[in-house]
Amino acid sequence: MDKKTSVLSPLKALKYLFKKPKTLRYPFELKEPAERYRGLHLNDWEKCVGCGNCADICPNEAIVMKEIPGLESGDGKRNERPEIDYGRCCFCGLCVDICPTGSLKLSRDYLHIHFDPGTFKLLAKDENTDKEHFLPEKEYSILKASLTHRRENYEGFSSDLEYALFNPERVQMSQLSPQERKSSFIEQVKGFSASEAMKEASRCLECKLCEEACPAGMNIVDYVRNLWEGNLEESVRDIYKTNPLPGVCGRVCTHNCESACVLGHRGEPVSIRWLKRYVVDNLPLSEYKKVLETEDIKSTGKKVAVVGAGPGGLSAAYYLRLLGYEVVIFEKLPKPGGMMRYGIPEYRLPYEALDKDIEYIKSVGVDIKCGTTIGEDITLTELRDNYDAVFVSTGFHTGRSTGVSGSENSHVFQAIELLRKVTMKEEIEVTDKIMVIGGGDVAMDISRTLARLQTKKFGAVNVTLSCLEARDIMPATPEEIEEALEEGIKMYPGWGPEKIIIEKEKIKGIVMKKCLSVFDEEGKFNPEFNGEEKKKFECSMVVEAIGQAPDFSFLTEDIKEKLEYEGRRMKVNEYGQTSLPWLFIGGDIMRGPDVINAIDTGHKAARGIDKFISRGEKK
C-alpha cells in the first residue's frame, strides 16, 4: 500500500492562487495557430487548372467544382474552381495532398460563425485572387473573422511533393543510347514491359484534362484504366472508338494529352503515348477483328472514294467501312501511309508498326489502290460519277523553298523529298558537311536521318541546323530537339539564311543573319533581321525544311470554280464538307499539322459522309 499523505496536503494547491493564470482570455489574448494548421482553404486561381481531383478525393463530398464564366478553358485547363462546403469539410487535408498543381492549401484561419448555413459554402481563393476579403494583419480583426474576412499571408498546411498522394515521376522508358541510335535506323524507344506499363498507368488521376486536349477526343482515361486493370482487349476497344492508327499514334503522336496532363505541373505527365503503344503492340493482329467485333460488317451497298492513304484517308475509310460503306482508297505512292511512311523516319516509326495498323484497316474490307494518281490515272469527276461521295486528304507533300540566292543549286534539297527517297530506298546525296534550315519536326527528322547516313558513310556526324526561331520558341517537340543534340547535331536557333555561297556550281557555305523576331505584332509571320550581325557556315549541301505546301493540281477548273474558300483554305463545315456537297476533305489540307488531327478530320468526315448519303442529298 502506498504511503498516503495528510488530509491537509491537497491544500498545497492553494499556492496556484498567487500565480499567473494559464487560461487565455480569448479573443483578447490570442494563441497563434501552428504553421501546419489545417484551417479554411486557400486556392491560387492562377495555378489551379480545375482538374477536380480535390473534389474526387474528398471523403465527405464537401467539394464541388463550380464553373466560372470568364475563365479560360482548354489546353490542360478547365474553367472550374473548387467550392468547399464547410458544413461537410472535416479538414483532413486530403485535397491538399492530392492537388497536382499545389494551388490548394489550408490556411491558419478557422473561424466562421453565421446563422445561415448557406454562407458555409466558399469558393476558395487566396490573397492574390481575392484582395477584397484577404486583409493585412493590421486591418484584420479576429472579432469579424469569417470565410470572407481572412488574414493574408496566413498559409497553413500545404502540399509537399514527397508526401503527395500522386507519383510525380514517370516510369523511365528504356531507349537506345545516342551512340547506338546514330549508327542505325532501329527504333529508338524500346517500349514498356507489362509491369512497367501497369505501374505507369496507375499514376493516372483520371481528371480527363487529357481527353479535352486530344484533337480526336480519345477515351484516354478509359483505356489507361483498362490497361491498369489488365483488360487489354477492352482497352483496345476504347482506343479504336476514335483512333484507327494507335500503333502510329502510340509512337509519333504530338501528345497534346501529355502536355495537358496535370501531373506535368510539378512532375512528369503520364506517358499516355507509350501506354497506347503498349496496348496495341501486345494484341496480335490476328485477334483484332474478334476483339473489335468487326468480323461481320453489313454492307449498305453505297460506295465512297477516298483520295490519299495518309492518316486522314485511312481514318475516314475505316469508320466508313464500319458503317457499311464500300470504300476504295486511291494512293499515288507505292505504299499506303502517306506522310507516316514517307515523312517520318523509321527510327521513330518502324514500318512494321504502321503496316500492322494498315493491315487491320485493309482486313475489314477497305480497298487500297496504290500507284494511282488523281488527275492523271483517274479524275475527280470520274470519282464523283462512280461513287456516292468523295473524301480527299492529299496532304502537304511539296516542300517550300527559302528562295535565297543560291537556293536553286542542285545541292540544295527539300527535306520532305529526301525523307521520301530514304523510305523508298533510293540513293540520296550525303556530303560530309550539311546545313539544315528549319526548326520544326521535319527539320529534326531530316537532320537525324542525315546524321545516321553520315555515320554510315563517314563515321562521323557533321550536321548543322539553324532556324529563325529562338531556342525557346522552336516549333519542334522538345524531346526531338534534345535527342538531335544528343546525336551530335549542332544547332543555331535565331539565324536566318541570307545567301548560299556557290563556287563552280558547288556549295562552299552559307551566310546567316541574326533574326530578331519571327512574328510581327499582329502575330503574322514577318521576320525581322539584324543586317549587321552575320555568320558564315561552311557546308557542301543545304537542306530546306521550312514547311510544306499542298498540291491541288488534281482539281479541275470546273470544280475549282464551284469551291468556296476562306483565306487560302477551302471552306468546310464541321464534317469537312466543302461547298460541293459530295466532296469532303480532311488531313493536313483541312487542319494540321499532325497525325492525330488528320485522324480526327477523317473520323468526322466519315460521320458527315454517312449523314450526307443516308439523307440522299443531291450531288
Partner: protein, 365 residues
C-alpha cells in the same frame, strides 16, 4: 424492501458519454445492471465499406474522440499488412513517439473525467491544461489538435518539424514537474483513497474470463500489454516496463494509469534518443487506382484503454469489404461492468465505470 428499476444515463451527471445502464436496485444496493448502448451508433464500420482505402484514413480517427491516434495506427497497420506495404524505419519510431504522446493525452483526459466525477476539480483542471500542452505539440506536428490524421498507410504524413523533439522533451518536463502536485491533491489524497479502495474489485481470473484488457487486467497483476506481447512500430527496439498492481480495485486501476503515464514519458525520451534518420513515408499507390488483393488481416495495438484490434477484409477491390474493430471498452462496458456492478452501491456506478475507462464511442461504432 421494494426493488426499483433505475435508469443511469444517458442524461446523468455521473455518466460520461452517450451510454446508459439500467439498474435494478434495492435501496442503495444494485441487484442487477444491464448495459444499454446504442445512443452513439454512427455506422463507421459500414461507412468504411463505401470509402476507398485512402478516404478511410481521415475517418477512422473519428470513431473515438479520446483516442484518435491509436485508431489511425490500427487502420494503417491493417492496410499495410493486407497490401504488403513496407514502412520506413524512422516512421516506426516517429509513430511510437506520437502514440505515446497520444497515450499521455488520453490518460490526462481520463484523469480529468475521473477526478472531475469524484469532485476533485483542481486536479481535473490541471489534467485538462496539461493535455492541452500535448495538443499544442500535436497541432505543430500535424496541423490538428484533436483529429490529427497523421499516421497513414505507408508511414506518417509529415516528418517532425525542426526542433520538435526538443519541444516534446521540454513539454514533458514541465508536465512532469506537476506530478507531486497531482499526488498531493489526487493520487495520494486520503479522501480519494478511501473513495476508491475496494471499489469495483475484479480478480485476475474474472478479468481474463470476462475479456478484461488494459488497466482492468494489469490492475490484477497480469502484465499484459500488446506493445510487449506483439510488438509493433518501434516498441521492440526500446526497453520499458509494464506497471501493474495486485488489488484489482478502482484505486489500483487509476494508479496503473498514473504509472503508465510516467513510464510513457521515459519511453518517449528513450525513443527520441534512438530516433534514426531517413524518410518517414513510402508512397502508396494513387488513391484513385488502389486495389488491394483479396485477403484479410487482424492487427492489434495497445491503446490507452487496452487491446484495440481491427479485422479488415479486402475482396480485391478499392474499398474494404468489411472492417470490424475490437475495442477495449466493448468488453469492459458490456461484460465486466455488468458483473462488477452487481452488489455495488448506486453512488459508485460512475466511479466504477470511469475507473474501467469505459468510453461510449468505442462501444457503439
Amino acid at each position: 424492501m421494494r426493488e426499483l428499476e433505475l435508469f443511469f444515463g444517458p442524461q446523468h451527471l455521473g455518466m460520461v458519454g452517450n451510454f446508459s445502464i439500467t439498474l435494478s436496485v434495492e435501496g442503495d444496493k444494485i441487484l442487477k445492471a444491464t448495459s444499454d448502448p446504442g445512443f452513439l451508433h454512427r455506422g463507421f464500420e459500414k461507412l468504411m465499406e463505401c470509402r476507398t482505402w485512402m478516404q478511410n484514413f481521415p475517418l477512422v480517427c473519428r470513431i473515438n474522440v479520446v483516442e484518435p491516434d491509436h485508431m489511425e495506427m490500427v487502420y494503417a497497420m491493417a492496410v499495410e499488412k493486407l497490401a504488403g506495404i513496407e514502412v520506413p524505419e524512422r516512421a516506426h519510431w516517429v509513430r511510437s513517439i506520437y502514440l505515446e504522446l497520444a497515450r499521455i493525452a488520453s490518460h490526462l483526459f481520463g484523469l480529468w473525467a475521473y477526478s472531475n466525477m469524484l469532485g476533485f476539480d483542481t486536479a481535473a483542471q490541471w489534467a485538462m491544461y496539461h493535455r492541452d500542452l500535448i495538443l499544442d505539440l500535436f497541432e505543430e506536428l500535424t496541423g490538428g489538435r484533436v483529429y490529427h490524421i497523421y499516421i497513414w498507410p505507408g508511414g506518417v504524413r509529415r516528418d517532425f518539424p525542426e526542433g520538435f523533439t526538443d519541444k516534446i522533451v521540454k513539454t514533458l518536463h514541465s508536465i512532469g514537474k506537476s506530478v507531486p502536485d497531482y499526488n498531493d491533491t489526487f493520487f495520494k489524497n486520503p479522501l480519494f483513497y478511501e473513495r476508491t479502495r475496494n471499489i469495483g474489485k475484479v480478480t485476475r481470473e474474472e478479468a481474463e474470463k470476462w475479456g478484461g484488457v488494459g488497466q482492468v487486467l494489469r490492475a490484477t497483476g497480469k502484465p499484459f500489454d500488446i506493445r510487449k506481447v506483439e510488438p509493433y512500430a518501434a516498441y521492440d527496439k526500446v526497453d520499458f516496463n509494464i506497471p501493474t498492481r495486485e488489488e484489482g480495485d478502482a484505486y489500483s486501476r487509476i494508479m496503473v494509469i498514473r504509472d503508465e503515464m510516467i513510464e510513457s514519458v521515459h519511453l518517449i525520451f528513450k525513443l527520441i534518443e534512438g530516433l534514426p534518420k531517413g524518410k518517414v513515408y513510402n508512397k502508396v499507390p494513387n488513391p484513385f487506382k488502389w486495389k488491394i488483393k483479396e485477403g484479410e488481416s487482424y492487427v492489434r495495438v495497445e491503446s490507452s484503454r487496452g487491446e484495440l484490434g481491427l479485422y479488415l477484409v479486402s475482396d480485391g477491390g478499392d474499398k474494404p469489404y468489411r472492417a470490424h474493430f475490437r475495442t477495449p471498452s466493448y468488453s469492459h462496458g458490456l461484460t465486466v461492468l455488468e458483473k462488477v456492478l452487481e452488489g455495488a452501491n448506486i453512488s459508485d456506478v460512475g466511479n466504477i465505470m470511469i475507473s474501467m475507462y469505459v468510453c461510449a464511442p468505442e462501444i457503439d461504432r
